[in-house]
Amino acid sequence: MYTIFHAVFGYFFMLLAVRVLVRRPGGQLTPFEFVIIFLIGGIAILSTIGHDPSVTNCTCAVIAVGMVHRFVAMARTRWRRLGRWMDGLPLVLLRDGQWQLDAMEGMRIEPDDVMAAAREQGLTSFSDVKYAVVERTGSISIIKR
């Protein structure tokens, strides 16, 4: 029984921790972020399974996490405001030659990160970029001039 509570608590706690830790867990995983995601995942498993690694316990834990995820996904679709809190919103980083400093500093994104995304689009300098937007997934979209 405790496993189900642990799994549900672990899901929401991990969600909160990952959300406040990094914006780009899936977008641009650097080795630095890999360490965080895998380490907290491993620690959460210890607390969820505890001293009962039986198939019954692990099956219940997997089902519990799966069901919570399903319900959260449904709730997120139904209430868009919830989606904002869980996934965040896109933010404009660069607009018409001006860095949007609130967004850059708040998201802890450096111009180098934006330039890396611009290079992937075949652009050679910031002057070719009209807009740079950090997406909810954490990836940076570049709109050319």
Binding site: L16, V20, R84, P90, L91, V92, R95, D102, Y131, V133
Partner: protein
């Protein structure tokens, strides 16, 4: 054949510069950043509390209690953790020894919710006595001490009592078991 369900596409996403549909909401984002800062402060407080022992296994968790004449002294932790090993030690003074032995009554809660795993040294006898167990150790001289290796099996507040049979001295304490 049923008609596929459709809905006209609306231009509902707010635009930046009147041309790029981004759906940016800086007011919300600022609220989120404030929330994020609060969470970080909370995380820092949790770590500080953990280091200090408020959640167990730290300096603030350690406690001791003794009888008025010092015949029995109990070293224990106010806060324990669920299924995590811990040791409670009882030190005995010279008055604790009667007829060459020490008899200690321990409430059942030390066995069940507090999860006593073993006693060091092993008692010579253990007798079920009411809602507890009476342990006996042969003892020649003091100092003597007995340790109970615990691994709590239930979270929450737990109460336990130890009583020295030779003097009737009793110590009762409440401990908290973290989930």
């Amino acid at each position: 054949m049923a008609t596929p369900r459709t809905r006209p596409v609306e231009d509902s996403i707010s635009k930046v510069g009147n041309e790029l549909a981004v759906g940016e909401d800086l007011a919300f984002q600022r609220r989120w950043w404030r929330f994020e800062t609060t969470i970080w402060i909370l995380f820092a407080l949790i770590l500080a509390a953990d280091l200090s022992g408020i959640f167990g296994r730290g300096p603030l968790a350690k406690a001791s209690a003794k009888t008025a004449d010092g015949t029995m002294k109990l070293d224990y932790e106010r806060v324990l953790r669920y299924e995590t090993p811990d040791v409670m030690t009882i030190h005995f003074g010279p008055n604790a020894i009667q007829n060459g032995r020490i008899e200690l009554w321990v409430s059942e809660s030390v066995i069940k919710p507090l999860g006593n795993q073993r006693i060091i040294p092993q008692p010579k006898s253990s007798i079920l006595d009411g809602d507890g167990i009476l342990y006996t150790w042969p003892a020649a001289s003091h100092p003597n001490s007995v340790s109970f290796a615990l691994a709590p099996s239930a979270p929450g507040s737990q109460k336990f009592t130890v009583r020295l049979e030779s003097t009737g001295d009793t110590i009762t304490r409440h401990v908290w078991v973290m989930p």
